[in-house]
Amino acid sequence: MTTLAVDRRGGAPAGPSDARRNPTSVTLLRGMPLAPAVVLLLVFLAGPILYCIWSAFTDMALTGASGYSFVGFENFTRAFSSAEFGQSALYTVVFTVVSAIIGQNVLGMALALLMRAGNRVVRAIVSAIVIGAWVVPEVVAGYLWTAFFGVDGSLNHFLGAIGLPAQDLLYSAPIVAVSIANIWRGTAFSMLVYSAALSEVPKEIEEAAVVDGAGTWRKLVSVTLPMVRRSISTNLMLITLQTLSVFGLIWTMTKGGPSNKSETLPLYAYEQAFQFSQLGYGTALALILLLIGGIFSLIYLRTLRVGDGPA
């Protein structure tokens, strides 16, 4: 290697070669190793995304028409003027707020706090159970909850045994039923994130707060929570984006019904794109869902001010 380099240095063309090497070409040359990764990203990540954006502006159909054409914003105006879309957007927000922001987030934090206080055996048992729910595949979870909430399900047997009237949540309030199932399934994730964050909070600071006369609640609100603020923001963003795109769980439990009363945007987009074969409209709906996710993320970034303060 050294010999080679010396030979090159010592050779006649060495001088001009150095002169030709201007800054741009050096940068390009140094960027060369990145090229394979860039090509892969462009072909397999950016490609499909661009294609998706493009097809949202066409009347592309899976069947029933042999060609397709550019239709501008027609798919979007159609979505925003459709009552069905409005309804499913509303259910999407309800599902996300109830099951992720309130359910998984609050319950995950509560479990993490309680587990910090519990002894090792309790901690091991609780986390095994909670994480078990998280590990169960979506479809299996959906099936379990259908069997639990069903008219002849285990919940009604239990209610009957203690003399309470039967419920029919899957029929009367399906969005509540799928939200509960999603809380059950997703709480483990928040719990893990918060357990990790809480273990980083220095004991000394909390003890100092106690010495200054703060009660348990005061200590939690004024000291502990502000210190894990960045984790809360990250966790909220992650679970919101996950929940917005939940499909399998709802599909297995209700297929979006009855009367579309649990049809969130992913199910609506699937129905339009694959059951009614309107690929263009379906991709437009997917883009709108992306937009809603973006809005939620912005809100979290703004309100929790991730930039400053310790984690």
């Binding site: 380099a5 090229a35 069947t63 042999s66 019904g257 074969s277």
Partner: protein, 471 residues
């Protein structure tokens, strides 16, 4: 130490060892990427070789009948045509997902199979999309084609007058009833309703005399999907004299009296509690609950359903029930007031079609001829509980003896109707399910549900709508 050596070397040479290594790596990696991309571009030929026929079909859950039938045909075909391989590619999925995946495959010559199994429900759409090739020349030169019944020959015929597919079976729909429950209610074992009211009054009798049994099931609502539309609503509508779609005018029909009357029938069933509870009906698996649970357990008296449901009760299938042939009776669905022809039915069915992008269409056609001949069709109709599309199969003693209800359901073929399965049909069908569901759950009255359907139909079909005659 290492660092110092390198720095010294760099001072001496002007090129660091690291930069050199990077250059080498970059060249190698670029080469790799180019090779990979090239391979992706040209590699996947989807069985385009002239000696292979790729056949895509739907595999339903654990039911092996279609798989075994095709595997036997494959072996036979390969024996008769040495050097040719039949590549069977099942797609295990529910109906609508199967069709979606099939359409995605047929879009590109690289992935297109040579022969596909197409639902008559979707075939017109796929023809309009240009996925299939016309078979008129082959069919005219094929003597067996004359054995196919008139309606069957129309199953794969498009609006352009060309025929794109060969059907392999059909189905009809009618009434199944439990003779044991009927005996308890004092109803005859050879029951044959003449009007819709006959059905309702039998259901009322059962409700009064046999408590704990669901008197009558008509599929309704979006959860059961197409079953509500074809087994439920269109079995009613086609008995009123009105239609969903006017074929001569090529327009969808708005606001017909038959439409409202059919909704009223559904409403009566559910408000008088002659049917299952709405919560039961809106279980996405209700179709299977009915045929594999409620009927075999004697919990349902009358069921408006398909000719194929006894398939579930055969030995080795989903819910074996040896006594079914003595317990269950069958009757044709009557028209609304008994008007001519007195009874009606609806038919669907599947076909074999050759995609436009097929690499080996001639060989694929040879395979179609083999699996559609008389012997294969007799076998197929028996194992799959299908209504034959060939007249010589329908009268075959082996077929008639195979299942006690075969003869009855085959006899409904002359009064059967097909769905207007054009490109817009899935969306129209979905609106029908919505209308049924809203009268069933009581969220809308009949007039409101019918009005909402008309509004949705106008949005879906644009100008291709017309007001029903006499409304």
């Amino acid at each position: 130490m290492e660092n110092q050596t390198e720095q010294a070397e760099r001072r001496r040479t002007g090129v660091s060892r690291r930069v050199l290594t990077r250059r080498v790596l970059a060249t190698v990696l670029t080469g790799l990427v180019v090779a990979t991309v090239a391979a992706c571009g040209g590699g996947d030929s989807g069985g385009a070789s002239a000696s292979t026929i790729s056949v895509t079909y739907k595999q339903t859950g654990g039911d092996p009948s279609q798989k075994d039938f095709l595997a036997a045909a494959k072996a036979e075909f390969e024996r008769a045509n040495p050097g040719i391989t039949v590549n069977l590619q099942p797609i295990t999925a529910a109906d609508s997902d199967y069709l979606t995946r099939l359409q995605l495959q047929m879009r590109s010559p690289r992935t297109s199979p040579d022969l596909v199994y197409e639902d008559t429900f979707q075939i017109n759409s796929d023809i309009e999309a240009g996925y299939l090739r016309p078979l008129d020349d082959q069919l005219n030169a094929w003597p067996d084609w004359k054995q196919f019944s008139e309606t069957a020959r129309g199953a794969g015929k498009a609006l352009d007058g060309k025929t794109y597919a060969v059907p392999d079976g059909t189905d009809t729909r009618g009434i199944w009833f439990n003779k044991e429950i009927f005996a308890k209610a004092g109803l005859p074992a050879d029951w044959q309703p003449k009007t819709w009211d006959d059905i309702l009054s039998a259901a009322r009798t059962i409700k009064a005399r046999v408590p704990g049994v669901i008197p009558f099931n008509i599929f309704s609502g979006k959860a059961v999907g197409e079953a509500a539309s074809i087994q439920g609503f269109q079995m009613l509508l086609n008995g009123t004299g009105d239609t969903l779609y006017d074929i001569p005018q090529r327009k969808w029909v708005l606001g017909s009296k038959g439409f409202s009357d059919s909704l009223q029938f559904v409403k009566t069933v559910y408000t008088e509690q002659l049917g299952p509870t709405p919560a039961q009906s809106l279980d996405p698996n209700f179709q299977y609950v009915v045929s594999q649970q409620l009927l075999p357990k004697g919990q349902l008296a009358i069921d408006l359903d398909g000719s194929w449901i006894s398939h579930h009760w055969l030995p080795g299938n989903a819910s074996p029930w040896p006594q079914w042939s003595t317990v269950m009776g069958t009757a044709a669905m009557p028209t609304q007031n008994g008007q001519a022809p007195g009874r009606i039915s609806m038919s669907g069915g599947w076909t074999w079609a050759i995609p436009k992008n097929a690499a080996n269409p001639d060989r694929a056609w040879d395979f179609v001829k083999l699996i559609s001949d008389r012997d294969h069709q007799v076998k197929f109709s028996i194992v799959n509980t299908q209504i034959p599309v060939r007249t010589d199969v329908a009268s075959d003693p082996k077929y008639l003896a195979a299942n006690p209800t075969n003869e009855f359901f085959a006899s409904l073929v002359p009064v059967t109707h097909y769905r207007p399965a054009y490109a817009l049909y899935p969306r129209v069908s979905s609106e029908i399910q919505v209308a049924m569901e809203s009268v069933m759950t009581g969220t809308a009255d009949v007039a409101g549900a019918a009005k909402n359907y008309d509004e949705q139909l106008r949005t879906i079909a644009g100008d291709a709508v017309m007001t029903a005659a006499g409304s």
